[in-house]
Amino acid sequence: MSAGAIRVTNLRLQLGAFTLRDLNLSLDQGEILVILGPNGAGKSVSLEAIAGFHRLLGGHILIGGREVTRLPPERRHISLMFQNFGLFPHLTVARNVAFGRRGVDPLRLLARFDVAALAARYPDTLSPGQKQRVALARALAAQPQLFLFDEPFSALDMPTRELLRDELKAFLRESGVPAIFVTHERSDVEALADKIAVMDNGSIIQAGEAAEVLRRPADTAVANFLGIENILKGRSLGHANGVMHVAIGDAILAARPAATAGEVTVCIRAEDVAPAPAEGAGAAAAAVNRLAARVGAVTSFGPFYKVRLDCGFPLLAHLTKREVRTLGLAPGRRVMVEIEAEAIHVLAAPGPARRPAAGGG
């Protein structure tokens, strides 16, 4: 199958009260772009527009240099997958895979995904993992040059979601077909994304390489959508010794330098809050903040605990169960935690005007 770079430029459309403004996306062969945003942001509409289901006011969609903007969905070679993977409930697995194709051997495709034994079954008898494999086999039969996924995992529990996500990523990597994945689940972003586009209210508010966007959200709204647990109001105290100092209430923290002054927003990921080593065990470097905290609620989630701390300001920490056990953390206890200055990201405080849409990729 041939795959090429995807270029979506200045896509505009109007759908009732909803407006999609100048959607720009760009991804290369084999890349996965994750579009993240709240409900109603326009993520699904964007996918459907790329797949060809909406009349556009303007813009272009190119797949490997081939302009598909004016083609109907059935001629674009774009695969679209929804929650539950959109298998046809009235057809067997084999007939789903051969759907609309002549000369396709469904068994050969199913065998590639180790599900040939399911050929005679109906979709509602399959597990989510089996459904995904059948849906991918079916999609491959149509030789897609772009995969679109609209929250395919939204009905699944977390362990299943993680399993299917890993399988999907391995498949996409192997096939080399670029993919756009819409979600509002942060863990999908970190597990899948080469690139990220954060969307709100019909516009992309930040786009770029995944690591860059995750580390440096452009504004408070993006930080929120990325699920950064601690987003705090602070005040810039200026730069010194290669770090920036910010005041949060009475506490003063060293942070990664940023070109902001006055009122600021301070972003700290819960996973970057660590228990401090015992006093005197290696003097804390200047670039590490040490904070005395009082433990609040401790809630279990997966292999971690969410630990609410009061350091003069509220701080959520994700600690491993082992750390919590070793430190004997319980509500009311006092504890020292540390945060590297490099892990503290400072943004301009949200102003009345939102940033203009950033270009894709």
């Binding site: 969905p73 046809f88 609309g100």
Partner: protein, 283 residues
Amino acid sequence: MSLTPAGWTDRIAGGRISGRPRMLLLVFWLLGSMLVAFIVIPLLGLAAMQSGATLARVAMQPSVEGAIALSLKAAFVTVAFAALFGVPLAYVLARTSFPGRGLLAALIDIPLSVPHPVAGIALLSVLGRRGVVGMPAAALFGLKFWGTLAGIVAAMLFVAAPYTVNAARIGFESVDPRLEKVSRTLGLGPWRTFLRVTLPLARRSIMTGLVLTYARAISEFAAVAILVYYPMTAPVKVYELFLRFGLDEAAAMAVLLMIVCLALFILFRQLAYGREVPIGSGR
């Protein structure tokens, strides 16, 4: 028939289950049984008052057999027209929104609330000898709605088509539009998507609508009698027997008609729902 819903059997076998709504089911069965009795007892009474001799005599009359056959045939043609024109309308109502959509849906239901003699009179004024449709249709195509099968079908279609439209609309509304989109991205155009995805998934509802349409069509009396009268359909013939020979003859034919209809609808149910279509995984 069992008092036990499927799935509870094994738990009940294990002992007393506090979660089983025994009283609720008991009360509901009692209330439901009253309705069943209300429907069944008059029908049984009608059947019971027949003497075998009268039944046989009525059944032997060619005009009775002819009337029943005509009813069955006309209702079939009616169902075909209801499907041809009603299913597309149902799809449009289910899948698109346009100004006046609610009004259109309400218009479709009007025949259900109009007294049937009124429907007959309305049709007569349009399709009759001097009607705005009836006159040119007869002059140009030789299509007459009086004294013909066409007239019977017209009267039946008017009163019965809403059942097809409404049931099919509910069927189409229950098909996830995203499945249609998936079909498109797999390379099928809108027509093939409709035939291969939408229609099969709405099949049960559409079949229900067609069966109801058939039932409604075969039972129509007033509209058919006013617009056509001759040739006589079964209900018109029952009425005629009642006027000419009295209750016994009329009741005998009514029982014959009931038996034919009962057999037919058992057959329809088998054809329409016999094969279970798995539903629900695409939602």
